[in-house]
Structures are given as structure tokens and as C-alpha cells.
């Protein structure tokens, strides 16, 4: 059979992840030291795992309501009140999803008509463009710049808005740059959006991981923005619960109800064991978060210093657990750099262009690793840069 003719054309046209090939090389190698993974190196706090085990022992193995257990919806709303001073109605404004990813997919599918445009600030996580395209939208990248500390600016936003713009993705704290949007930056974005009918999808999955004593600010808390914002968050990064696949969305009930309808037919409900665990995480997990954040912060400072000492320009990230140093001074492209570094020094980092074309010239380095591991990787990268430098001088 000629499957190419049978497969959905949009799905077919989406290019496979550019870094697949790269990971395949790494998988074949021995003694690879990786700084490439986008998930915490901590384990889910024991008390959270314990509640999940208990729920299984008690035989709570059935479905939950489509939109999630009421107790969990309540805790999510308490949490957003407590952390970001936002009021959501637990009975209408929240849906529990399979990871933050499903919430993003649901929001896009609930809003997009064919031909709509979705604005995607880049560099950013890889899922927005394919999800928008699968829903029939055109994804429009907005380039963020090192000079603006990789923040979305009102000017850049305004330039990309057309009559067809439906949705702005707001992925901050940002993977891969570590950029954050403070209140004053969000105010300026809000000023632009209030004049329009554009909705915002705020991907706040890294909201607990901000540094320099500056807590995350949700754009929904800016005047006039709650009614046009869908907030997406989840448990993966803040509570080290990636494998539990649990996230949620908060927003206007008119949109959440449509998202719930899609979710009801496509997914039924998020995993119930995970939901029991998540209730415990929200009720008693603040200390766990604080501990992990403190540890990430130490490593963050170590890594930034490390790259600067090696002579690479490295923006100081204020959120998430990545640094995004520039490698343009080496004269190599991101992919050349990463492939050569992997082959010669067995160190795996991710080429910046995996997060949008404008990520070219950068690499993403995760510091969700022990300091000993980070130190060894930095040592090898240092050796690599020295050897590259020497060989260039010979030429």
C-alpha cells in the first residue's frame, strides 16, 4: 500500500524532530555525559508517592469525572489563589489533563478555525508549532532576542498581529532560554492585546522555578487579561512528576467547557492515581519545591559561571532549569557544534535551532544534573573549545 497517499497531509508534512538523529548517535556511544534532558533529576517526593500507593491499595482504580476529581480542581484553584492571587471557580474554570501538553493541545483545538494564526515566541518548546498546524492554524514565529533577554516585546508582538491572529502562546519561564517576563513586561504585552480579540495561552509549567527572589507573575493577573487568558500548568517540573503525566488548564468557563468536551471524547479523564498524588503535592508540597528550587539555583550559578569562564556569551537565565549559551564565536552552526562535541568529547547538549530557527548559534544546556556531573561536562566542553581554537589557529 502506498501509505503516503493515505496519511493525513498535515501530519505527514510536519518534519520529524531534528534532534532525533543526534540522540541516536548518543545512544550508540559509551560514557556519554549528557546535559540534554528536560526533566528534573529529583524523584517525586516520597509523601506524594505514598498517597498514590495508598490509593492503589484501597482499590481506587476507576475513572474520575472527565474534568478531574473535584478535590483536585479545588486544590488547583486554591493554589492559583495562594501563589498568583487569581480567583478561579473550581466547578467551571479548570480541567485536569494528561500533562501540560494535552492542555495546550485542547486549548488550541478548542479555539482554532482553519486559517487562524497562532503567534509563537521563539526560541521555545517544540510542541506549539506542530499542535497549531494539526489544528489547521498557521503558526507564526515571533523572534525573541538576546538583547531583550529573550523576552517578548510589545513591538515584536504588534508587528506580527494580523486580522487572522487568534492566539498568542506565552511560554515563560522559557524552555530553552530561561527567560522570564516580569510584571512590567507583561503590562506592555497586555496593553497591546487589550485592544484586540486575541487570546493568550500562558504556558506556566516552569512557574515554580524562578530565581533571584522574583516569583513568577501570571499574565492572567494583569488587569483585563484573565478573561482572555488560558493558563496551562502541571506537576511535572515543579514536583518532579514527569512520568505521572498530569497537568491542567484554567480559564474562562466558555473555553474550558469546550476543552472538556474534546477531552471527554479523546481522553476520558487524566490518570486517577496521578490525580490522588497531585492532591497531596498541592496540599503538602511547598517545602519540596523550595528545596529543589534552591538546589537548581546553585547549579544555575555554577553553570553560568562555567560557560562565561570558557569564553562563551551566556545569558543569565532567571527561570526553568536551562542555560542557553551562544556558540557563534566558534564559527560552527549549533548542529555542527553539538555533533562534534558529542563525537569528540561524548558530551550531549541540544542544538538551539531545535527550538526554532532563531535558536541557531546557541545550545541548550540542562542543569537538572548533579554538580559533579555538570562539572565533568564543563571540563570536557572546555577541552573541546581549546582544541577547536588551536586547530583554527593552525588553519
Amino acid at each position: 500500500m502506498n501509505y503516503n497517499d493515505l496519511i493525513n497531509r498535515t501530519a505527514h508534512a510536519i518534519p520529524p524532530s531534528g534532534i532525533r538523529r543526534f540522540f541516536d548517535i548518543a545512544a550508540e556511544m559509551e560514557e556519554v555525559i549528557s546535559l540534554s534532558v528536560g526533566e528534573p533529576d529529583f524523584l517525586t517526593p516520597w509523601h506524594v508517592r505514598d498517597v498514590a500507593i495508598d490509593s492503589l491499595q484501597k482499590g481506587r482504580t476507576g475513572y474520575s469525572p472527565n474534568r478531574g476529581f473535584t478535590a483536585l480542581c479545588r486544590e488547583i484553584c486554591h493554589y492559583y489563589k495562594r501563589k498568583f492571587d487569581l480567583d478561579y471557580d473550581f466547578s467551571t474554570d479548570v480541567i485536569v489533563t494528561v500533562g501540560g501538553s494535552e492542555a495546550i493541545d485542547l486549548a488550541v483545538r478548542a479555539l482554532i478555525n482553519p486559517g487562524d494564526e497562532v503567534l509563537v515566541p521563539q526560541p521555545s518548546f517544540v510542541c506549539y508549532d506542530p499542535i497549531a498546524r494539526l489544528a489547521g492554524a498557521k503558526a507564526v514565529p515571533i523572534v525573541t532576542h538576546r538583547e531583550d533577554e529573550f523576552r517578548l516585546t510589545a513591538e515584536a508582538l504588534r508587528e506580527c498581529i494580523t486580522e487572522r491572529t487568534k492566539l498568542l502562546i506565552l511560554p515563560f519561564p522559557n524552555n530553552p532560554t530561561g527567560a522570564v517576563m516580569r510584571r512590567e513586561h507583561l503590562e506592555k504585552i497586555a496593553d497591546v492585546l487589550r485592544e484586540t480579540n486575541i487570546l493568550v495561552l500562558a504556558d506556566e509549567i516552569y512557574s515554580e522555578l524562578t530565581y533571584n527572589g522574583q516569583p513568577h507573575v501570571s499574565i492572567a493577573s494583569i488587569a483585563g487579561m484573565k478573561e482572555r487568558t488560558i493558563v496551562v500548568n502541571g506537576f511535572s517540573k515543579s514536583y518532579a512528576m514527569t512520568g505521572w503525566r498530569l497537568g491542567y488548564a484554567l480559564g474562562p468557563k466558555e473555553i474550558i467547557s469546550i476543552m472538556t468536551k474534546i477531552h471527554q471524547y479523546a481522553i476520558m479523564c487524566a490518570p486517577t492515581t496521578s490525580q490522588h498524588a497531585a492532591i497531596e503535592a498541592l496540599r503538602n508540597g511547598d517545602e519540596d519545591i523550595a528545596k529543589m528550587r534552591e538546589e537548581y539555583d546553585l547549579r544555575r550559578k555554577l553553570v553560568v559561571r562555567g560557560f562565561r569562564e570558557l569564553g562563551l556569551d551566556c545569558f543569565e537565565p532567571e527561570g526553568a532549569f536551562y542555560v542557553f549559551p551562544s556558540i557563534s564565536s566558534t564559527g560552527m552552526t549549533s548542529e555542527e557544534f553539538c555533533e562534534k562535541l558529542l563525537k569528540e568529547k561524548h558530551v550531549a547538549v541540544v542544538p538551539g535551532n531545535a527550538f526554532g530557527e532563531c535558536g541557531e548559534g546557541y545550545i541548550r544546556v540542562s542543569y537538572a544534573y548533579s554538580t559533579a556531573h555538570i562539572n565533568e561536562a564543563l571540563r570536557r566542553i572546555g577541552q573541546f573549545l581549546k582544541e577547536e581554537n588551536n586547530s583554527q589557529q593552525l588553519v
Binding site: 540534554s36 534532558v37 550559578k301 559561571r305
Partner: protein, 159 residues
Amino acid sequence: MDNFLKILSDNPRLSNAQIAAMTGLSEDEVGERIASLEREGVICGYKTVINWEKLEQTDKVTAIIELKVTPRKDTGFEAIAEEIMSFDEVESVSLMSGGYDFSVCVTGRTFQEIALFVAKRLAPIDSVTSTTTTFILKKYKEDGMILSAQSDERGADVL
């Protein structure tokens, strides 16, 4: 200060410059602080945790010896502890609550060597009333470190 010590204890191989970056202190301040902690005896030393079983020819045996003693009239347990810890074979000495008084960790090249050490050095000490020797067969975790090689099972292809 507690945080500073935690960083040192968790990351013994970092340079002062790296610790300075992590703590916001200057490199000199880090050096001075470490020196003063060493002087005060807060930092007692630095060691490398080695999994000796990894080496093919292991000639290292460890035993835990439970000692019951009669405390001495004037010096109580202190003088006895000092006497025990003066031997090079002794890795650690702790005063215990419960069924016995001292827990003494002893290393030697063979089981026999340790047995002889107990018989000839520990048992004869004045005030020691009994000894129970228990040999360690395999170590799984030491000083908070898991000794078997651990692999990172995180999905390398997930961004």
C-alpha cells in the same frame, strides 16, 4: 552558614571560585571562611568515598565491634574512648544508647587480623567487659552515597 556547609559537604571537589559563584561570596571570602571552619574544628577533614569491592584484589575487611564497658570512676566513658580511638585500625568510635556502650568500626586485611586485634587490643582494655564482633559482608551505601553504579534512566529523547 548552614547552607555554606551543605554546599561544601555536597560538592567537595568544586574550586573556591565555583563555590563563590554559587554563594555570591568573593573567592577570598570563601577561602577565609573555609580556613576558619577548619580552625574551629567544624570541618574535620576531607575524604574520598571508595567502593573497595570494585577493586579486584580487595584486602580490606571491616567489622563492627560492640563493646560493653564499665565506666571509670573519674573519667567515665571519655578516657576509654580515647584509648580505643588511638589505634590505627579503628575507623570510628561512637558511644551508644541501648544494649551496649561503644560501637567501634575496625578495618584490617583479613578476618583473622581483626579477630586478633579484638582479642589482643580491645578485649584486654581495663573496663571492657565484653565484645561482640560482626563482620561486614557487603556495603550498599556509605556516607549517603549508593555504591553500585547507577544509570540515568531519564528519557534522552524528550525535550
